[in-house]
Amino acid sequence: YTFFTNKPTWPDSKHNLTYAFWPGNQLQSNAKVIFSRAFQRWSAVTPLNFTETDFYLNADIKIGFFKGDHGDGESFDGQMGTLAHAFSPTSGLFHLDGAEDWVIDGDVTTSTSTVAIDLESVAVHEIGHVLGMGHSSVEEAIMYPSISARTRKTELATDDIQGIQELYGSNPNYNASSTPSDTQKETSDGGVRI
């Protein structure tokens, strides 16, 4: 695991973080649930808590799907290529490429689309950046920079957990011997898309 230069983190006074979705995207609840679950992965192992708010401009973490040049100097490149990016603490910006074939429900691994990308997998990764994690060279880690189409990787690896706990400490209820189970493989319909 690695961190951003100078190891920026959210301050102790900001461990209850709010997040909001760019209103222009008008995301449905089934998509929002994906992000909620992704945040939960990180809060389960740290003292951090995440709450959705409707007030986009006041939220600590601002999530949006954008295409091409969206004003932050890091243009998206259309389908495939760059999937998403996020900024280090305490910026809170979390952007996803609106051109991707995002899968939000079902089993992405059986998708008929060769460019299907699992939204939750990418969300867990980008939230890691929002919290201060850099990229990892451990292939099994969430913070590994690449992910293939039709692949699902949502569980924090030991490498991810060690990294985030170095930044924020552990959740008092966290039990290192129990790993979270992946319950999102119940269907094989190729997935529902945004």
Binding site: F65, K67, A99, E100, D101
Partner: protein, 125 residues
């Protein structure tokens, strides 16, 4: 950023299969000294993710800068650091990825802390 009006709702087109990095497959087997049309795009890729500092006038020449950047990329991704565009390297580069750079301002955080430490053999007096 917050005044940007470029935001649009996602409208994926599943029939589109373009990947801007697919062309990297054409470079498989290339090494220092080669000149290949389109290699400048790969240099741009490596620049985007922090492996090449300079952003000026990328050429299609497989030069020392590209070889050095490739070796660093291969180290970061636990590949053989040959500096050659072998199959494993090219295939990994074509996979979609996070847009955040692996190296920021010349600081390679990704693998620098994980290299094997040099063992110092000392003799006490």
């Amino acid at each position: 950023y917050q005044n940007s009006n470029t935001a649009t709702a996602p409208s994926p087109d599943p029939t589109t299969t373009s990947n801007p990095w697919d062309l990297f497959h054409n470079f498989s087997g290339r090494h220092k000294g080669d000149q290949v049309s389109g290699l400048a795009n790969l240099k741009q890729y490596l620049h985007q993710f922090g492996y090449i500092n300079s952003s000026s006038n990328f050429t299609d020449n497989f030069d020392d800068t590209l070889e050095s950047a490739l070796k660093q990329y291969q180290k970061n991704f636990n590949l053989n650091a040959t500096g050659i565009l072998d199959n494993s390297t090219v295939q990994l580069m074509a996979i979609p990825r996070c847009g955040n750079a692996d190296i920021v301002n010349g600081t390679n955080s990704m693998n620098s802390g994980k290299s094997a430490r040099t063992t110092l053999h000392t003799v006490s007096h």
